[in-house]
Amino acid sequence: MNAPLAVEAVGLERSYASGHATVAALAGVTLGIRRGEFVAVMGPSGSGKSTLLNVVAGLERPTGGSVLVDGENLAKLDEEALARHRSKRVGMVFQAFNLLPRFRVVENVALPLAFSGVPKAERLRRARAMLERLGMSARADHRSNELSGGELQRAAVARALIGDPAILLADEPTGNLDSVNGAALIALFEELHHQGQTVLLVTHDAQIASHAERTIHMRDGRVVPE
Protein backbone atom coordinates (compact mmCIF):
# COMPACT_ATOMS: atom_id res chain seq x y z
CA MET A 1 0.00 0.00 0.00
CA ASN A 2 1.26 3.42 -0.93
CA ALA A 3 -1.38 5.64 0.69
CA PRO A 4 0.11 8.86 2.18
CA LEU A 5 0.60 8.74 5.92
CA ALA A 6 -1.95 10.22 8.31
CA VAL A 7 0.64 10.36 11.08
CA GLU A 8 4.38 10.20 10.70
CA ALA A 9 6.56 10.55 13.79
CA VAL A 10 10.35 10.48 13.72
CA GLY A 11 12.35 10.42 16.95
CA LEU A 12 9.46 12.15 18.70
CA GLU A 13 10.29 13.37 22.21
CA ARG A 14 8.25 14.99 24.90
CA SER A 15 9.75 15.65 28.31
CA TYR A 16 8.51 17.47 31.40
CA ALA A 17 10.44 19.27 34.08
CA SER A 18 9.57 17.62 37.36
CA GLY A 19 11.41 19.36 40.16
CA HIS A 20 15.08 19.09 39.29
CA ALA A 21 14.66 16.00 37.17
CA THR A 22 13.37 15.78 33.63
CA VAL A 23 10.81 13.11 32.94
CA ALA A 24 10.60 11.88 29.35
CA ALA A 25 7.03 10.90 28.48
CA LEU A 26 8.07 10.25 24.92
CA ALA A 27 11.69 9.20 24.45
CA GLY A 28 12.09 8.97 20.72
CA VAL A 29 9.01 7.54 19.09
CA THR A 30 9.11 6.68 15.41
CA LEU A 31 5.95 5.40 13.80
CA GLY A 32 3.67 5.81 10.84
CA ILE A 33 -0.07 5.47 10.50
CA ARG A 34 -1.56 5.11 7.06
CA ARG A 35 -4.75 6.79 6.01
CA GLY A 36 -7.79 4.68 6.65
CA GLU A 37 -5.96 2.60 9.21
CA PHE A 38 -7.46 1.67 12.62
CA VAL A 39 -4.58 1.62 15.07
CA ALA A 40 -4.65 0.95 18.80
CA VAL A 41 -1.87 2.13 21.10
CA MET A 42 -1.47 -0.05 24.14
CA GLY A 43 0.68 0.15 27.18
CA PRO A 44 0.62 0.45 30.95
CA SER A 45 -0.06 3.80 32.56
CA GLY A 46 2.94 6.09 32.26
CA SER A 47 4.06 4.44 29.06
CA GLY A 48 3.48 7.70 27.14
CA LYS A 49 0.54 6.51 25.05
CA SER A 50 -1.74 9.41 26.06
CA THR A 51 1.08 11.89 25.55
CA LEU A 52 1.55 10.52 22.03
CA LEU A 53 -2.14 11.07 21.35
CA ASN A 54 -2.05 14.60 22.82
CA VAL A 55 0.94 15.54 20.68
CA VAL A 56 -0.82 14.26 17.56
CA ALA A 57 -3.92 16.19 18.64
CA GLY A 58 -1.90 19.38 18.99
CA LEU A 59 -2.68 19.68 22.69
CA GLU A 60 0.95 19.21 23.63
CA ARG A 61 4.08 20.32 21.85
CA PRO A 62 6.92 17.92 21.11
CA THR A 63 10.23 18.82 22.76
CA GLY A 64 12.23 16.91 20.18
CA GLY A 65 11.95 15.02 16.93
CA SER A 66 9.19 15.69 14.45
CA VAL A 67 5.61 14.72 13.90
CA LEU A 68 3.63 15.22 10.72
CA VAL A 69 -0.14 14.93 10.86
CA ASP A 70 -1.85 14.89 7.48
CA GLY A 71 1.41 16.27 6.09
CA GLU A 72 1.65 19.22 8.52
CA ASN A 73 4.70 19.51 10.78
CA LEU A 74 3.18 20.35 14.17
CA ALA A 75 6.48 21.49 15.68
CA LYS A 76 6.41 24.51 13.38
CA LEU A 77 2.93 25.72 14.30
CA ASP A 78 2.24 28.56 16.73
CA GLU A 79 -0.66 28.49 19.19
CA GLU A 80 -3.16 29.96 16.74
CA ALA A 81 -2.16 27.50 14.02
CA LEU A 82 -2.31 24.59 16.48
CA ALA A 83 -5.87 25.65 17.29
CA ARG A 84 -6.72 25.48 13.59
CA HIS A 85 -5.04 22.08 13.44
CA ARG A 86 -7.30 20.86 16.26
CA SER A 87 -10.38 22.24 14.60
CA LYS A 88 -9.66 20.97 11.07
CA ARG A 89 -7.37 17.92 10.97
CA VAL A 90 -8.16 15.97 14.09
CA GLY A 91 -11.20 15.05 16.13
CA MET A 92 -10.75 13.96 19.71
CA VAL A 93 -12.78 11.69 21.98
CA PHE A 94 -11.93 11.71 25.69
CA GLN A 95 -12.46 9.23 28.47
CA ALA A 96 -14.36 11.94 30.41
CA PHE A 97 -16.65 12.77 27.43
CA ASN A 98 -16.01 16.52 27.93
CA LEU A 99 -19.32 17.81 26.65
CA LEU A 100 -20.58 21.17 27.88
CA PRO A 101 -23.50 20.42 30.20
CA ARG A 102 -25.32 23.73 29.65
CA PHE A 103 -25.54 23.23 25.89
CA ARG A 104 -27.93 20.97 24.02
CA VAL A 105 -26.37 17.92 22.40
CA VAL A 106 -26.70 19.37 18.91
CA GLU A 107 -24.97 22.56 20.08
CA ASN A 108 -22.16 20.55 21.61
CA VAL A 109 -21.66 18.68 18.36
CA ALA A 110 -21.73 21.95 16.39
CA LEU A 111 -19.27 23.74 18.71
CA PRO A 112 -16.01 23.01 16.82
CA LEU A 113 -17.48 24.53 13.65
CA ALA A 114 -18.08 27.82 15.53
CA PHE A 115 -14.34 28.22 15.88
CA SER A 116 -13.78 27.65 12.17
CA GLY A 117 -16.32 30.34 11.36
CA VAL A 118 -19.22 28.26 10.02
CA PRO A 119 -22.51 30.21 10.38
CA LYS A 120 -24.86 29.00 13.11
CA ALA A 121 -27.67 27.62 10.92
CA GLU A 122 -25.20 25.65 8.80
CA ARG A 123 -23.43 24.37 11.93
CA LEU A 124 -26.65 23.07 13.46
CA ARG A 125 -27.74 21.50 10.17
CA ARG A 126 -24.48 19.62 9.89
CA ALA A 127 -24.55 18.64 13.56
CA ARG A 128 -28.03 17.15 13.16
CA ALA A 129 -26.92 15.23 10.09
CA MET A 130 -23.95 13.85 12.00
CA LEU A 131 -26.13 12.84 14.95
CA GLU A 132 -28.48 11.10 12.57
CA ARG A 133 -25.56 9.22 11.04
CA LEU A 134 -24.61 7.98 14.51
CA GLY A 135 -28.19 7.14 15.43
CA MET A 136 -28.47 9.95 17.98
CA SER A 137 -31.20 12.10 16.39
CA ALA A 138 -33.63 11.45 19.24
CA ARG A 139 -31.22 13.01 21.71
CA ALA A 140 -30.23 16.06 19.65
CA ASP A 141 -32.23 18.58 21.65
CA HIS A 142 -31.53 17.19 25.11
CA ARG A 143 -29.06 18.85 27.39
CA SER A 144 -25.94 16.75 27.66
CA ASN A 145 -26.48 16.17 31.40
CA GLU A 146 -29.66 14.26 30.52
CA LEU A 147 -27.77 11.60 28.55
CA SER A 148 -26.40 8.21 29.60
CA GLY A 149 -22.67 7.49 29.41
CA GLY A 150 -22.99 5.58 26.16
CA GLU A 151 -25.02 8.38 24.59
CA LEU A 152 -22.58 10.98 25.84
CA GLN A 153 -19.66 9.21 24.20
CA ARG A 154 -21.59 8.81 20.96
CA ALA A 155 -22.31 12.56 21.01
CA ALA A 156 -18.60 13.13 21.66
CA VAL A 157 -17.74 11.01 18.62
CA ALA A 158 -20.21 13.08 16.58
CA ARG A 159 -18.47 16.23 17.77
CA ALA A 160 -15.06 14.77 16.89
CA LEU A 161 -16.23 13.92 13.37
CA ILE A 162 -18.12 17.16 12.63
CA GLY A 163 -15.08 18.86 11.11
CA ASP A 164 -14.41 15.85 8.85
CA PRO A 165 -10.98 15.25 10.40
CA ALA A 166 -8.12 13.38 8.75
CA ILE A 167 -7.79 11.34 11.91
CA LEU A 168 -10.09 10.44 14.79
CA LEU A 169 -8.26 10.31 18.11
CA ALA A 170 -9.68 8.52 21.13
CA ASP A 171 -8.09 8.41 24.59
CA GLU A 172 -9.49 5.50 26.64
CA PRO A 173 -12.96 6.18 25.19
CA THR A 174 -14.50 3.18 26.94
CA GLY A 175 -12.93 3.96 30.31
CA ASN A 176 -16.12 5.41 31.76
CA LEU A 177 -18.54 3.03 30.03
CA ASP A 178 -19.99 -0.30 31.11
CA SER A 179 -19.08 -3.32 28.99
CA VAL A 180 -22.22 -3.20 26.84
CA ASN A 181 -21.81 0.45 25.97
CA GLY A 182 -18.07 -0.01 25.61
CA ALA A 183 -18.60 -2.79 23.08
CA ALA A 184 -21.14 -0.68 21.19
CA LEU A 185 -18.66 2.21 20.99
CA ILE A 186 -15.91 -0.03 19.64
CA ALA A 187 -18.39 -1.38 17.11
CA LEU A 188 -19.02 2.25 16.07
CA PHE A 189 -15.27 2.81 15.63
CA GLU A 190 -15.04 -0.31 13.48
CA GLU A 191 -17.93 0.89 11.40
CA LEU A 192 -16.34 4.30 10.94
CA HIS A 193 -13.12 2.57 10.01
CA HIS A 194 -14.95 0.57 7.35
CA GLN A 195 -16.29 3.87 6.01
CA GLY A 196 -12.67 4.93 5.53
CA GLN A 197 -12.02 6.93 8.72
CA THR A 198 -8.49 6.81 10.13
CA VAL A 199 -8.73 5.97 13.82
CA LEU A 200 -6.02 6.16 16.48
CA LEU A 201 -7.18 4.75 19.80
CA VAL A 202 -5.34 4.62 23.10
CA THR A 203 -6.27 1.89 25.57
CA HIS A 204 -4.78 -0.32 28.20
CA ASP A 205 -7.39 -3.01 27.47
CA ALA A 206 -6.14 -5.78 25.15
CA GLN A 207 -9.71 -6.85 24.47
CA ILE A 208 -10.51 -3.46 22.98
CA ALA A 209 -7.19 -3.20 21.16
CA SER A 210 -7.94 -6.52 19.46
CA HIS A 211 -10.62 -4.80 17.36
CA ALA A 212 -8.01 -2.58 15.71
CA GLU A 213 -6.21 -3.52 12.52
CA ARG A 214 -2.89 -3.00 14.18
CA THR A 215 -1.67 -2.48 17.73
CA ILE A 216 1.35 -0.41 18.72
CA HIS A 217 2.81 -1.27 22.12
CA MET A 218 4.49 1.34 24.23
CA ARG A 219 6.59 1.25 27.37
CA ASP A 220 8.59 3.99 29.05
CA GLY A 221 8.00 6.43 26.23
CA ARG A 222 9.12 4.10 23.47
CA VAL A 223 7.49 1.85 20.94
CA VAL A 224 8.31 -1.72 21.87
CA PRO A 225 7.84 -4.94 19.90
CA GLU A 226 4.94 -7.21 20.97
Binding site: A83, M92, F94, A114, F115, K120, G163
Partner: protein
Protein backbone atom coordinates in the same frame (compact mmCIF):
# COMPACT_ATOMS: atom_id res chain seq x y z
CA UNK B 1 -14.98 32.60 15.29
CA UNK B 2 -17.43 35.09 13.84
CA UNK B 3 -18.26 38.30 15.69
CA UNK B 4 -21.90 37.29 15.89
CA UNK B 5 -21.05 33.96 17.50
CA UNK B 6 -18.71 35.75 19.87
CA UNK B 7 -21.44 38.15 21.01
CA UNK B 8 -24.02 35.38 21.26
CA UNK B 9 -21.80 33.01 23.19
CA UNK B 10 -20.49 35.61 25.62
CA UNK B 11 -24.02 36.91 26.19
CA UNK B 12 -24.91 33.35 27.19
CA UNK B 13 -21.98 33.33 29.59
CA UNK B 14 -23.00 36.71 30.99
CA UNK B 15 -26.54 35.48 31.54
CA UNK B 16 -25.54 32.20 33.14
CA UNK B 17 -24.36 33.47 36.52
CA UNK B 18 -27.29 35.87 36.69
CA UNK B 19 -26.91 37.08 40.25
CA UNK B 20 -23.17 37.60 39.99
CA UNK B 21 -23.36 39.34 36.61
CA UNK B 22 -26.27 41.41 37.86
CA UNK B 23 -24.45 42.59 40.96
CA UNK B 24 -21.31 43.42 39.02
CA UNK B 25 -23.37 45.32 36.47
CA UNK B 26 -25.12 47.18 39.28
CA UNK B 27 -21.71 48.27 40.56
CA UNK B 28 -20.81 49.69 37.16
CA UNK B 29 -24.24 51.31 36.91
CA UNK B 30 -23.83 53.07 40.25
CA UNK B 31 -20.35 54.28 39.33
CA UNK B 32 -21.55 55.54 35.95
CA UNK B 33 -24.63 57.17 37.46
CA UNK B 34 -22.46 59.00 39.96
CA UNK B 35 -20.10 60.26 37.25
CA UNK B 36 -23.07 61.40 35.14
CA UNK B 37 -24.86 63.03 38.07
CA UNK B 38 -21.83 64.92 39.37
CA UNK B 39 -20.65 66.15 35.99
CA UNK B 40 -24.23 67.08 35.06
CA UNK B 41 -24.42 69.13 38.26
CA UNK B 42 -21.22 70.99 37.40
CA UNK B 43 -22.39 71.51 33.81
CA UNK B 44 -25.72 72.87 35.03
CA UNK B 45 -23.98 75.32 37.34
CA UNK B 46 -21.60 76.39 34.57
CA UNK B 47 -24.47 76.91 32.12
CA UNK B 48 -26.23 79.05 34.67
CA UNK B 49 -23.23 81.26 35.32
CA UNK B 50 -22.45 81.60 31.63
CA UNK B 51 -26.03 82.48 30.83
CA UNK B 52 -26.02 85.28 33.37
CA UNK B 53 -22.73 86.58 31.97
CA UNK B 54 -24.04 86.55 28.41
CA UNK B 55 -26.97 88.63 29.59
CA UNK B 56 -24.56 91.32 30.82
CA UNK B 57 -23.03 92.11 27.51
CA UNK B 58 -21.32 91.34 24.28
CA UNK B 59 -18.49 88.80 24.31
CA UNK B 60 -16.87 90.50 21.35
CA UNK B 61 -16.15 93.64 23.31
CA UNK B 62 -12.79 94.66 24.77
CA UNK B 63 -12.79 97.76 26.94
CA UNK B 64 -9.52 99.70 26.97
CA UNK B 65 -8.90 101.48 30.26
CA UNK B 66 -6.59 104.49 30.78
CA UNK B 67 -4.19 102.53 32.97
CA UNK B 68 -1.11 100.46 32.50
CA UNK B 69 -1.84 96.72 32.36
CA UNK B 70 -1.33 94.48 35.33
CA UNK B 71 -2.07 96.58 38.39
CA UNK B 72 -5.57 97.65 39.30
CA UNK B 73 -7.39 99.56 42.00
CA UNK B 74 -5.31 102.10 43.92
CA UNK B 75 -2.02 100.84 42.52
CA UNK B 76 -3.11 101.43 38.91
CA UNK B 77 -0.74 103.66 36.97
CA UNK B 78 -2.61 106.12 34.71
CA UNK B 79 -1.90 106.23 30.99
CA UNK B 80 -3.32 108.59 28.45
CA UNK B 81 -5.53 107.24 25.68
CA UNK B 82 -5.05 109.53 22.66
CA UNK B 83 -6.17 109.48 19.03
CA UNK B 84 -2.80 107.92 18.29
CA UNK B 85 -3.81 104.95 20.44
CA UNK B 86 -7.11 104.74 18.56
CA UNK B 87 -5.34 104.74 15.20
CA UNK B 88 -2.99 101.98 16.32
CA UNK B 89 -5.85 99.84 17.61
CA UNK B 90 -7.78 100.27 14.37
CA UNK B 91 -4.82 98.66 12.62
CA UNK B 92 -4.90 95.55 14.80
CA UNK B 93 -6.14 92.37 13.11
CA UNK B 94 -9.74 91.27 13.81
CA UNK B 95 -10.72 94.73 15.12
CA UNK B 96 -14.10 95.67 13.71
CA UNK B 97 -14.45 99.04 15.35
CA UNK B 98 -12.93 101.33 17.98
CA UNK B 99 -15.29 103.69 19.81
CA UNK B 100 -13.97 106.53 21.94
CA UNK B 101 -15.64 107.60 25.13
CA UNK B 102 -15.13 110.68 27.25
CA UNK B 103 -16.80 111.21 30.59
CA UNK B 104 -17.53 114.83 31.46
CA UNK B 105 -17.58 115.89 35.14
CA UNK B 106 -20.64 115.08 37.23
CA UNK B 107 -23.58 117.39 36.81
CA UNK B 108 -27.35 117.55 36.80
CA UNK B 109 -30.39 118.15 34.64
CA UNK B 110 -31.66 121.42 36.07
CA UNK B 111 -35.33 120.74 35.20
CA UNK B 112 -35.18 117.45 37.06
CA UNK B 113 -34.23 119.02 40.37
CA UNK B 114 -31.76 117.76 42.95
CA UNK B 115 -32.32 114.09 42.19
CA UNK B 116 -31.40 114.44 38.52
CA UNK B 117 -27.67 113.91 39.04
CA UNK B 118 -25.93 112.79 35.87
CA UNK B 119 -22.52 111.80 34.54
CA UNK B 120 -22.57 112.99 30.91
CA UNK B 121 -20.78 110.41 28.78
CA UNK B 122 -19.52 111.46 25.40
CA UNK B 123 -19.84 108.66 22.90
CA UNK B 124 -19.50 108.11 19.19
CA UNK B 125 -22.41 107.10 16.93
CA UNK B 126 -23.12 103.36 16.98
CA UNK B 127 -21.03 102.87 20.13
CA UNK B 128 -21.65 99.38 21.56
CA UNK B 129 -23.17 100.85 24.74
CA UNK B 130 -25.67 102.87 22.70
CA UNK B 131 -27.44 100.01 20.96
CA UNK B 132 -30.82 98.41 21.18
CA UNK B 133 -31.91 99.54 24.64
CA UNK B 134 -34.25 102.40 23.72
CA UNK B 135 -37.60 103.01 25.39
CA UNK B 136 -38.35 105.93 23.05
CA UNK B 137 -36.69 108.13 20.41
CA UNK B 138 -33.37 107.28 18.76
CA UNK B 139 -29.70 106.70 19.47
CA UNK B 140 -26.83 109.18 19.02
CA UNK B 141 -26.18 109.73 15.32
CA UNK B 142 -23.31 111.11 13.26
CA UNK B 143 -23.22 114.92 13.22
CA UNK B 144 -25.31 115.25 16.37
CA UNK B 145 -24.51 118.24 18.61
CA UNK B 146 -26.33 119.47 21.73
CA UNK B 147 -28.47 116.36 21.97
CA UNK B 148 -28.74 113.64 24.63
CA UNK B 149 -30.00 110.09 24.97
CA UNK B 150 -31.07 109.92 28.58
CA UNK B 151 -31.97 107.17 31.04
CA UNK B 152 -35.62 106.44 31.81
CA UNK B 153 -35.40 107.59 35.44
CA UNK B 154 -34.17 111.08 34.45
CA UNK B 155 -36.80 111.25 31.69
CA UNK B 156 -39.52 110.65 34.27
CA UNK B 157 -38.18 113.58 36.33
CA UNK B 158 -38.45 116.05 33.44
CA UNK B 159 -41.60 114.79 31.69
CA UNK B 160 -44.80 112.93 32.57
CA UNK B 161 -43.73 109.93 30.51
CA UNK B 162 -40.63 108.69 28.75
CA UNK B 163 -42.33 109.21 25.41
CA UNK B 164 -43.13 112.85 26.05
CA UNK B 165 -39.55 113.54 27.18
CA UNK B 166 -38.30 113.02 23.63
CA UNK B 167 -38.03 116.29 21.76
CA UNK B 168 -37.83 118.32 24.95
CA UNK B 169 -34.88 120.64 25.44
CA UNK B 170 -33.39 120.62 28.93
CA UNK B 171 -30.51 122.32 30.73
CA UNK B 172 -27.50 120.12 31.36
CA UNK B 173 -25.38 121.62 34.17
CA UNK B 174 -21.82 120.27 34.19
CA UNK B 175 -19.68 120.69 37.32
CA UNK B 176 -20.58 122.28 40.60
CA UNK B 177 -22.35 120.81 43.58
CA UNK B 178 -24.47 117.72 42.99
CA UNK B 179 -26.44 115.36 45.14
CA UNK B 180 -25.22 111.79 45.21
CA UNK B 181 -27.61 109.55 47.03
CA UNK B 182 -28.48 111.48 50.20
CA UNK B 183 -25.32 113.57 50.41
CA UNK B 184 -24.30 116.70 48.57
CA UNK B 185 -20.78 116.88 47.19
CA UNK B 186 -18.89 119.94 46.06
CA UNK B 187 -18.24 118.86 42.53
CA UNK B 188 -15.47 120.03 40.25
CA UNK B 189 -14.88 123.36 38.57
CA UNK B 190 -17.35 126.10 37.85
CA UNK B 191 -20.83 124.90 36.96
CA UNK B 192 -21.74 125.66 33.36
CA UNK B 193 -25.10 125.14 31.66
CA UNK B 194 -25.71 123.69 28.22
CA UNK B 195 -29.03 123.38 26.45
CA UNK B 196 -29.47 119.84 25.10
CA UNK B 197 -32.35 118.34 23.17
CA UNK B 198 -33.50 114.89 24.33
CA UNK B 199 -33.57 112.65 21.26
CA UNK B 200 -33.89 109.29 22.97
CA UNK B 201 -34.65 107.56 26.24
CA UNK B 202 -33.01 104.27 27.15
CA UNK B 203 -33.90 101.63 29.71
CA UNK B 204 -31.66 102.42 32.67
CA UNK B 205 -32.13 98.87 34.02
CA UNK B 206 -30.45 97.41 30.92
CA UNK B 207 -27.45 99.71 30.79
CA UNK B 208 -24.61 100.83 32.98
CA UNK B 209 -24.28 104.19 31.28
CA UNK B 210 -25.71 107.37 32.65
CA UNK B 211 -26.37 110.23 30.20
CA UNK B 212 -25.25 109.87 26.60
CA UNK B 213 -24.16 112.91 24.63
CA UNK B 214 -22.05 113.32 21.48
CA UNK B 215 -18.31 112.90 22.11
CA UNK B 216 -17.50 116.45 20.97
CA UNK B 217 -20.01 117.95 23.43
CA UNK B 218 -18.52 115.98 26.30
CA UNK B 219 -14.98 117.03 25.38
CA UNK B 220 -16.08 120.65 25.20
CA UNK B 221 -17.84 120.48 28.57
CA UNK B 222 -14.84 118.78 30.15
CA UNK B 223 -12.46 121.39 28.68
CA UNK B 224 -14.54 124.40 29.66
CA UNK B 225 -14.92 123.00 33.17
CA UNK B 226 -11.16 123.15 33.56
CA UNK B 227 -10.47 126.21 31.42
CA UNK B 228 -8.85 124.25 28.62
CA UNK B 229 -9.55 123.53 24.96
CA UNK B 230 -10.96 120.22 23.70
CA UNK B 231 -7.73 119.66 21.78
CA UNK B 232 -5.72 119.96 25.00
CA UNK B 233 -8.06 117.51 26.70
CA UNK B 234 -7.55 114.99 23.86
CA UNK B 235 -3.79 115.35 24.19
CA UNK B 236 -3.18 115.53 27.93
CA UNK B 237 -6.13 114.01 29.78
CA UNK B 238 -7.01 111.60 27.04
CA UNK B 239 -10.20 109.61 26.59
CA UNK B 240 -11.92 107.89 29.48
CA UNK B 241 -11.95 104.61 27.67
CA UNK B 242 -12.28 102.82 24.35
CA UNK B 243 -14.70 100.15 23.31
CA UNK B 244 -12.93 97.83 20.87
CA UNK B 245 -15.15 95.44 19.00
CA UNK B 246 -13.72 92.18 17.63
CA UNK B 247 -15.02 90.56 14.46
CA UNK B 248 -15.57 87.37 16.49
CA UNK B 249 -15.42 86.48 20.18
CA UNK B 250 -12.78 83.84 19.45
CA UNK B 251 -10.35 86.61 18.46
CA UNK B 252 -10.79 88.61 21.66
CA UNK B 253 -7.65 87.13 23.25
CA UNK B 254 -5.49 88.44 20.40
CA UNK B 255 -6.94 91.91 20.71
CA UNK B 256 -6.44 91.89 24.48
CA UNK B 257 -2.82 91.02 23.87
CA UNK B 258 -2.43 93.88 21.38
CA UNK B 259 -3.99 96.31 23.86
CA UNK B 260 -1.58 95.21 26.54
CA UNK B 261 1.36 95.56 24.16
CA UNK B 262 0.28 99.14 23.55
CA UNK B 263 0.57 99.55 27.32
CA UNK B 264 -3.08 99.67 28.34
CA UNK B 265 -5.16 97.71 30.75
CA UNK B 266 -8.24 96.03 29.31
CA UNK B 267 -11.34 94.23 30.33
CA UNK B 268 -13.44 91.73 28.38
CA UNK B 269 -16.29 89.48 29.35
CA UNK B 270 -14.79 86.85 27.12
CA UNK B 271 -11.78 86.61 29.45
CA UNK B 272 -14.06 86.39 32.44
CA UNK B 273 -15.94 83.59 30.73
CA UNK B 274 -12.68 81.80 29.98
CA UNK B 275 -11.62 82.05 33.58
CA UNK B 276 -14.99 80.72 34.66
CA UNK B 277 -14.68 77.87 32.14
CA UNK B 278 -11.26 77.05 33.54
CA UNK B 279 -12.60 77.07 37.07
CA UNK B 280 -15.48 74.82 36.08
CA UNK B 281 -13.10 72.52 34.26
CA UNK B 282 -11.32 71.91 37.56
CA UNK B 283 -14.65 71.61 39.37
CA UNK B 284 -15.89 69.04 36.84
CA UNK B 285 -12.62 67.16 37.09
CA UNK B 286 -12.91 66.90 40.86
CA UNK B 287 -16.56 65.84 40.75
CA UNK B 288 -15.90 63.42 37.88
CA UNK B 289 -12.97 62.04 39.86
CA UNK B 290 -15.20 61.35 42.85
CA UNK B 291 -17.57 59.48 40.53
CA UNK B 292 -14.55 57.83 38.97
CA UNK B 293 -13.58 56.33 42.33
CA UNK B 294 -16.97 54.61 42.41
CA UNK B 295 -16.29 53.35 38.90
CA UNK B 296 -12.86 52.14 39.97
CA UNK B 297 -14.44 50.13 42.76
CA UNK B 298 -16.84 48.74 40.16
CA UNK B 299 -13.85 47.87 37.96
CA UNK B 300 -12.34 45.83 40.78
CA UNK B 301 -15.71 44.12 41.04
CA UNK B 302 -15.62 43.30 37.34
CA UNK B 303 -12.09 41.96 37.58
CA UNK B 304 -13.09 39.80 40.53
CA UNK B 305 -16.16 38.49 38.72
CA UNK B 306 -14.13 37.72 35.64
CA UNK B 307 -11.44 35.91 37.63
CA UNK B 308 -14.20 33.82 39.21
CA UNK B 309 -15.77 33.25 35.83
CA UNK B 310 -12.48 32.09 34.34
CA UNK B 311 -11.83 29.79 37.28
CA UNK B 312 -15.32 28.36 37.19
CA UNK B 313 -15.11 27.70 33.49
CA UNK B 314 -11.59 26.31 33.43
CA UNK B 315 -12.81 22.95 32.20
CA UNK B 316 -15.00 24.59 29.60
CA UNK B 317 -11.99 26.60 28.37
CA UNK B 318 -10.08 23.33 28.10
CA UNK B 319 -12.87 21.71 26.07
CA UNK B 320 -13.19 24.69 23.77
CA UNK B 321 -9.46 24.74 23.18
CA UNK B 322 -9.42 21.00 22.56
CA UNK B 323 -12.08 21.26 19.86
CA UNK B 324 -10.33 24.13 18.10
CA UNK B 325 -10.84 27.44 19.92
CA UNK B 326 -7.76 29.60 19.40
CA UNK B 327 -6.21 31.59 22.25
CA UNK B 328 -7.61 34.71 20.61
CA UNK B 329 -11.11 33.22 20.58
CA UNK B 330 -10.89 32.51 24.29
CA UNK B 331 -9.61 35.98 25.12
CA UNK B 332 -12.30 37.56 22.95
CA UNK B 333 -14.99 35.52 24.71
CA UNK B 334 -14.01 36.78 28.14
CA UNK B 335 -13.40 40.34 26.99
CA UNK B 336 -16.82 40.34 25.37
CA UNK B 337 -18.34 39.11 28.61
CA UNK B 338 -16.67 41.99 30.47
CA UNK B 339 -17.84 44.35 27.73
CA UNK B 340 -21.44 43.26 28.37
CA UNK B 341 -21.01 44.22 32.03
CA UNK B 342 -19.68 47.60 30.90
CA UNK B 343 -22.35 48.26 28.27
CA UNK B 344 -25.29 47.13 30.40
CA UNK B 345 -23.88 48.88 33.45
CA UNK B 346 -23.21 52.01 31.41
CA UNK B 347 -26.71 52.16 29.94
CA UNK B 348 -28.31 51.42 33.28
CA UNK B 349 -26.05 53.96 35.00
CA UNK B 350 -26.84 56.63 32.42
CA UNK B 351 -30.56 56.03 32.89
CA UNK B 352 -30.09 56.04 36.65
CA UNK B 353 -28.10 59.29 36.49
CA UNK B 354 -30.71 60.98 34.30
CA UNK B 355 -33.59 59.79 36.48
CA UNK B 356 -31.71 60.69 39.66
CA UNK B 357 -31.01 64.18 38.34
CA UNK B 358 -34.70 64.71 37.55
CA UNK B 359 -35.71 63.42 40.94
CA UNK B 360 -33.28 65.64 42.85
CA UNK B 361 -34.29 68.59 40.68
CA UNK B 362 -37.95 68.01 41.54
CA UNK B 363 -37.26 67.60 45.26
CA UNK B 364 -35.22 70.81 45.38
CA UNK B 365 -37.98 72.75 43.64
CA UNK B 366 -40.59 71.30 45.95
CA UNK B 367 -38.58 72.36 49.00
CA UNK B 368 -37.79 75.80 47.58
CA UNK B 369 -40.24 76.94 44.87
CA UNK B 370 -38.20 80.10 44.25
CA UNK B 371 -35.23 78.10 42.92
CA UNK B 372 -33.73 79.43 39.67
CA UNK B 373 -35.88 77.91 36.90
CA UNK B 374 -32.85 76.79 34.87
CA UNK B 375 -31.98 73.06 34.93
CA UNK B 376 -29.78 72.02 37.85
CA UNK B 377 -28.44 68.91 36.08
CA UNK B 378 -27.45 69.18 32.44
CA UNK B 379 -26.58 66.01 30.51
CA UNK B 380 -25.45 66.76 26.97
CA UNK B 381 -24.86 64.12 24.28
CA UNK B 382 -21.11 64.30 24.89
CA UNK B 383 -21.54 63.48 28.57
CA UNK B 384 -23.98 60.65 27.78
CA UNK B 385 -21.72 59.08 25.17
CA UNK B 386 -18.65 59.76 27.27
CA UNK B 387 -20.18 57.96 30.25
CA UNK B 388 -21.04 54.92 28.12
CA UNK B 389 -17.57 54.86 26.62
CA UNK B 390 -16.04 55.22 30.07
CA UNK B 391 -18.06 52.31 31.46
CA UNK B 392 -17.12 50.13 28.48
CA UNK B 393 -13.47 51.15 28.69
CA UNK B 394 -13.27 50.47 32.41
CA UNK B 395 -14.92 47.07 31.92
CA UNK B 396 -12.55 46.06 29.11
CA UNK B 397 -9.58 47.19 31.17
CA UNK B 398 -10.80 45.23 34.19
CA UNK B 399 -11.49 42.18 32.03
CA UNK B 400 -8.13 42.24 30.33
CA UNK B 401 -6.02 40.37 32.88
CA UNK B 402 -8.59 37.62 33.57
CA UNK B 403 -9.13 37.21 29.82
CA UNK B 404 -5.39 36.89 29.26
CA UNK B 405 -5.25 34.31 32.00
CA UNK B 406 -7.95 32.30 30.27
CA UNK B 407 -6.16 32.67 26.96
CA UNK B 408 -2.86 31.38 28.29
CA UNK B 409 -4.35 28.43 30.10
CA UNK B 410 -3.02 25.10 28.88
CA UNK B 411 -5.81 23.08 27.28
CA UNK B 412 -4.61 19.84 28.85
CA UNK B 413 -4.36 21.10 32.43
CA UNK B 414 -7.69 22.88 31.97
CA UNK B 415 -9.25 19.58 30.90
CA UNK B 416 -7.88 17.88 33.99
CA UNK B 417 -9.21 20.67 36.27
CA UNK B 418 -12.00 19.53 38.56
Amino acid sequence: MSFRDLLGMSLGNYGRARLRSGLTTAGVAIGTALVVLLIALATGAEDNVRRSIFSIGDLRLVTVQPFQPGANGLSAVPRTITDDTVAKLKGVAHVDGVYRQFDAPLGMVVEGGDDATIRPQGIEPDAPIDRGDLLAGRHIEAGDRAVAVIPGNIARLVAPSVGSAVGKTVTMRVGGAVKLGSTRIGGSGTPRDYAVKIVGVFDEQASQTSFRIPLEDALLAGAENRGLTPAAIRETTGYSGLAVEADDSTNVAEIVKAVQELGFSSFSLKQVVEQIDQGFGVFKGILGGIGGVALLVAAIGIANTMVMSVLERTREIGIMKAVGASPRDIRALFLAEAAYVGVFGGILGLALGLAGGQLIDRIIRQLNPRTNPAAIFVVGPDLALGALALALGVALLAGFLPARRAMRMSALSALRYE
